[in-house]
Amino acid sequence: MSLTGTEQRYFGDAELGDEFEESYVARPELVETYLSVSRGNAQLDDEDGRFSDAAGAQALGLERPIVPGVMSLSIITRLVTDWAGPAGRLRTLDANFRRPVLHGDRLRLMALVTDASDESGIGRVTLDVYLENERGERPLQGTAVVELPHRPR
């Protein structure tokens, strides 16, 4: 049993084309909790209500309040770090935001192995990561580079 409760992934386990995913519902109460624990973060300025208030969001032209971008990034980061396991190291994660994630969206959190190489004994795995909603849109997409240990002999 690891400290994080996730299994360890080894470099030899990762193969180009491997896919893994989880589902996630962007429930308003989760956004509320995220905002409350992140108070003071300038990226989470909710003065106009975009993250929490239906009327405020509609005044901005949004159908419903939206999930903060940094929260979306946290959600996809957790998918990758859980996959990598406690001894895996997330080296980089670059993402771009193409559409808003709305309160109540049912998301598929997806990651796909697009490259794997051994660089001087370090197993380096590149992943494409996505959030996909039930409308077939991918509001967040990006790449992550993870270092994985080799399986002990």
Binding site: G17, N96, L112, T114, G136, E137, R138, Q141, G142
Partner: protein, 226 residues
């Protein structure tokens, strides 16, 4: 009878600043998809507002047995447009960096230079043709085909694009709009004849011998034909 499946819309880190996929990454991914039964014969790089005829991927593409062709995605007053068959004359006559090109001028220039222009992600608001068509702003006499299946569009947006293609009797093409490796080949265009050159691509698009479909549909179709 289907001769080949190409993804007509892809971006790479070489020239699109919002892309995370490299050309070699796309090639490796296609090789991996083929091992899982998918049929992707090639793709067209359509970088945003950019075309460099000096950049070639022939040697790299040959190693993976994948066709890689070049076009560009330009921005007009009725949304984005994929351009295939770019000539030196077109590069001289059109400012590729302009984000508000007159679609009439662009489509006329492309036609006169022997190329073909295809409005991209036609069902998307603002950057697709749909809204502009509803407002009567589109010179449809210059449009022969539209991207009716786009990997970055929602199901509803692709549905609108299909409706538009059917209503206007336009040929349909499919493109992944890949910005990241694993998106390449999600949406494809099926051709009745082999396409391995830009000239061949233009000829098939102008003739309308093409059809949009998803990677899964292509896989099933190709599997049934084997």
């Amino acid at each position: 009878m289907i001769a080949c499946y190409l993804d007509l819309h892809a971006h790479s880190t070489d020239a699109s600043d919002d892309a995370g996929g490299t050309v070699e990454g796309y090639l490796k991914w296609i090789a991996a998809r083929r091992r899982r039964g998918y049929r992707i014969d090639g793709f067209v790089l359509t970088e945003h507002r950019h075309y460099d005829p000096a950049v070639r991927y022939d040697e790299l593409a040959g190693r993976y047995d994948v066709t890689v062709l070049h076009g560009a995605e330009l921005e007009t007053d009725v949304g984005h447009v994929l351009v295939y068959g770019i000539t030196p004359g077109l590069v001289r006559g059109i400012d590729f960096a302009d984000v508000a090109l007159s679609h009439r001028e662009l489509l006329t220039a492309v036609r006169d230079e022997g190329g073909v222009a295809v409005p991209a992600h036609a069902g998307r608001p603002r950057i697709g043709l749909w809204d502009h068509a509803q407002a009567g702003r589109v010179g449809f006499e210059l449009v022969g085909a539209i991207e009716a299946l786009n990997g970055g569009s929602s199901d509803e947006e692709n549905g609108r694009a299909r409706e538009l293609a059917e209503a206007r009797q336009l040929a349909s093409v499919g493109g992944s709009d890949a910005h990241f490796v694993s998106a390449i080949g999600r949406c494809l265009t099926a051709f009745e004849r082999p396409v391995t050159t830009v000239a061949g691509l233009v000829a098939e698009l102008v003739a309308g011998r093409c059809r949009a479909l998803t990677a899964e549909e292509a896989r099933a179709e190709a599997g049934a034909a084997d």
